[in-house]
């Protein structure tokens, strides 16, 4: 095995590094000045083939062949120079791949470029109060009236909902059809009178999600991706393009490093907690899981680079991440001691002191919820990974 990227990749790294060094010089720019500079930088990086690699040129991308190693090198070099990568969020992660796979030419032309440019920010409109893990039970209704979809209902758990101006949503348009066959995948402009948004305050006190109310909201008849009633299938479209990323393990590693830092900062029985044999066992026990996760991400990355099937371990990464996150949270609660009684001022960034761990202690629970509950993940591992039979209760159809 070999964890180095090889000579070809290292040559490429030199090119990328040179580009970034030359082109990313934000200097003292601030505010909208900086915004414009970033936008321009992204254009140049795209022209260079470094960003939006899976997006065709005619929609504003750089249309590069799949190469997970190059993609990784780009991420590493941009991150090293703190240069901006692609605009993030649901639009790039979910909508654009779906349009490329299932959209009409008109839809691609209409929506992809502004999404790439960051002008269209997309909320995901899947969950509703009452759907939970049973996403196909959505009830928000869409009726085609006078050449327009008229939408009534409610969507919830929309991340990035605060800044979103568009939504891709699962809407029940065929009430007579079977559960999964009655749903369409619609695109909705959120800046219209029929749409109300409300932040959902979380355990931590912050608003991480939004809910949206649709009261005769309207969308054009042709803002439907796929056919009527095909929405469920359309929403399952996923793009494997350069998805594998060693970076996915980095967040867990960073969390763990912070825990180690915390153990250095706080005291236990009059000495730094990290010198306490019990804490050292606790930390290394957790680190076993962190290492397994990190090494598995190398494995997945390698499989992706070789364009081989990822296998069962891919189904486990999310669960491993959230479960290890729980362990880190519990260890943090042990380490911070009395500081658990305190909450850092809600200043957002720059929260300091051990009590900033409060967010992690509660946030680790949010992680399991945001990506589907752990029970769903266990079921997927059991069924898709181990080939166990499908649950009777779940096997609606």
């Amino acid at each position: 095995m070999d964890l180095s990227y090889g000579a070809e990749a290292e040559n490429y790294r030199s090119e990328v590094r040179a580009f970034v060094k030359r082109e990313w010089q934000p200097g003292e720019r601030r505010g909208s000045d900086l915004g414009a500079y970033i936008k321009n930088f992204r254009h140049r990086a795209t022209n260079e083939g470094l960003l939006y690699r899976f997006v065709p040129k005619r929609y504003g991308g750089s249309e590069q062949p799949v190469d997970v190693v190059r993609a990784q090198v780009i991420r590493e070099e941009f991150s090293r120079a703190r240069a901006p990568m692609e605009v993030g969020g649901n639009g790039m992660a979910m909508l654009v791949p779906t349009l490329l796979e299932r959209g009409t030419e008109a839809q691609r032309e209409r929506f992809i470029r502004p999404t790439v440019e960051g002008d269209y920010v997309w909320g995901q409109g899947y969950s509703e109060p009452g759907t939970g893990s049973d996403l196909a039970s959505v009830r928000t209704k869409g009726e085609l009236i006078d050449g327009e979809w008229v939408i009534n209902g409610q969507k919830i758990w929309t991340s990035q909902g605060g800044g979103a101006n568009y939504m891709f949503a699962l809407i029940r348009t065929e009430p007579q059809a079977k559960k999964h066959d009655g749903i369409s995948y619609l695109l909705i402009d959120l800046d219209q009178p029929g749409v109300t948004r409300r932040p959902i305050r979380q355990m931590t006190g912050d608003a991480g999600f939004y809910e949206f109310f649709f009261d005769n909201a309207k969308t054009p008849a042709d803002w439907i991706v796929g056919e009527r009633g095909e929405g469920w299938k359309v929403s399952r479209t996923t793009l494997k393009h350069e998805r594998a990323s060693i970076g996915s393990a980095a967040s867990l590693g960073a969390q763990f490093e912070k825990l180690v830092e915390l153990a250095r900062e706080v005291e236990r029985d009059g000495r730094p907690a990290i010198q306490d044999p019990e804490i050292r066992q606790l930390l290394t026990r957790i680190e076993g899981w962190v290492m397994a996760h990190r090494c598995s991400s190398y494995r997945l990355f390698s499989l992706a680079a070789a364009q081989e099937e990822p296998g069962i371990v891919q189904l486990m990464m999310k669960l491993l991440l959230t479960e290890t996150g729980h362990e880190i949270a519990l260890a943090a609660q042990e380490l911070i001691g009395d500081e658990a009684l305190l909450e850092p001022p809600p200043s957002g960034h720059g929260k300091r002191g051990p009590s900033k761990w409060l967010d992690q202690i509660m946030g680790s629970l949010g992680n399991s919820i945001a990506g589907g509950t752990t029970n769903i993940h266990r079921g997927i591992i059991a069924e898709r990974g181990l080939g166990l039979p499908r649950d009777l209760a779940m096997g609606g159809e």
Partner: protein
């Protein structure tokens, strides 16, 4: 006669408290408090005191009901279930401390006031929780020093202050004291840092008086009782939600994995109930292992509360994670009960010492 389950009377007290709390402290009020900037709720305080909570464990001659710590703990359990706000537990402890003292004068001065709830009292032991680690100095009847994590300090008039070497002093709110609110994670029980600078005080127990250790043990039992009630709330809420919430055309409580998770939560809480009783009973009977039972109960039950509070959020899915739903209030209370008076690890280490290991 052997009896180790609640009497009709004890159950009736719990019912009465539950009813009074529900009436005087509806869920909307709890949310108001949590979203506001105080944790002292006059209506529910008055209603609970009118019911006799302040005097439950006080002798009858001082307007009390003459009951024991067990009865008080069972009362506090109900308040933990209902997330009652403010320093109720601490208030009752101060009354217990004064009642345990030798000074008839102090008793006459304060016990009727505390029994009626007309004066609010709290306990200032925070930071270094164990009596042998307390730091506030008392000299010539004045206190100096600082205590962190004092619950209800904003509303309290009377403070039971832990003093260096493990003594207790009684201090009325006065100019020599400064109360600065802390930004508390548990919004239903907020804490403050209290600084004493030549604050006049009465020494209630000298360092080394065994009553101080007894009172500390009582505090551990009561916080365990609060944790038990809070944990039970998390189980009940999750079970109710699982019965009502449907997915894939049936209540999610029919799915085996969730059922087993809920069973696991109940398995953490229900057996702990008798453990709490035992710790309180051992205290009331002054059994040799009373101190150890209190330490074990605090450690075990606080851990259970933290564990089921996390499990409850998971059992609920998204809604449990929202501020609005309110489960977060108990989640944060579990963090309070775990840290307040010392972490489980601290009390387990004490329990190992007390076992002579």
């Amino acid at each position: 006669m052997m009896r180790f389950h609640p009497t009709e009377e004890q159950l009736a007290i719990q019912d009465a408290l539950r009813g009074t709390l529900a009436d005087s402290f509806p869920k909307e009020r709890l949310h108001e408090l949590v979203d506001g900037d105080t944790d002292f709720d006059k209506p529910s305080w008055d209603a609970l005191m009118a019911l006799g909570l302040g005097g439950l464990a006080l002798p009858e001659i001082w307007g009390g009901a003459g009951l024991g710590l067990l009865d008080l703990a069972m009362a506090i359990e109900v308040l933990g279930d209902g997330a009652a706000a403010g320093p109720i537990l601490q208030h009752c402890l101060v009354a217990l401390a004064i009642a345990s003292s030798a000074s008839e004068e102090l008793k006459a001065r304060w016990l009727p006031e505390l029994a009626s709830g007309g004066t609010v009292a709290t306990v200032a032991w925070g930071g270094e929780w164990l009596p042998e680690k307390w730091t506030v100095k008392i000299e010539d009847g004045v206190l100096s020093g600082m205590v962190r994590y004092v619950p209800g300090a904003n509303a309290a008039h009377l403070f039971l202050v832990g003093t260096a070497g493990g003594g207790l002093a009684l201090c009325e709110l006065e100019a020599g004291m400064r109360v600065s609110a802390q930004h508390s994670s548990d919004r239903s029980r907020r804490t403050a840092t209290v600084t004493f600078k030549n604050a006049k005080a009465v020494e209630l127990f000298e360092p080394g008086d065994p009553t101080v250790a007894r009172l500390f043990d009582a505090a551990l039992v009561l916080i365990a009782a609060d944790a038990l009630g809070g944990a039970q709330h998390c189980v009940d809420l999750s079970v109710a939600y699982a019965k009502e919430r449907e997915q894939f055309g049936q209540p999610i409580g029919r799915f085996q994995a969730l059922k087993h998770q809920l069973a696991g939560m109940a398995l953490e809480v229900e057996p702990a109930r008798a453990m709490m009783w035992y710790a309180a009973y051992a205290w009331d009977m002054q059994l040799a292992e009373a101190s150890r039972a209190a330490a074990m109960a605090k450690a075990h039950i606080a851990d259970r509360f933290v564990s089921v509070a996390r499990a409850a959020v998971a059992a609920h899915g998204g809604i449990g994670y929202t501020w609005e739903y309110g489960l977060v209030i108990w989640f944060r209370r579990s963090m309070f009960d775990r840290a307040y008076l010392g972490s489980p690890a601290v009390h387990r280490a004490r329990a190992a010492d007390l076992a002579g290991w």
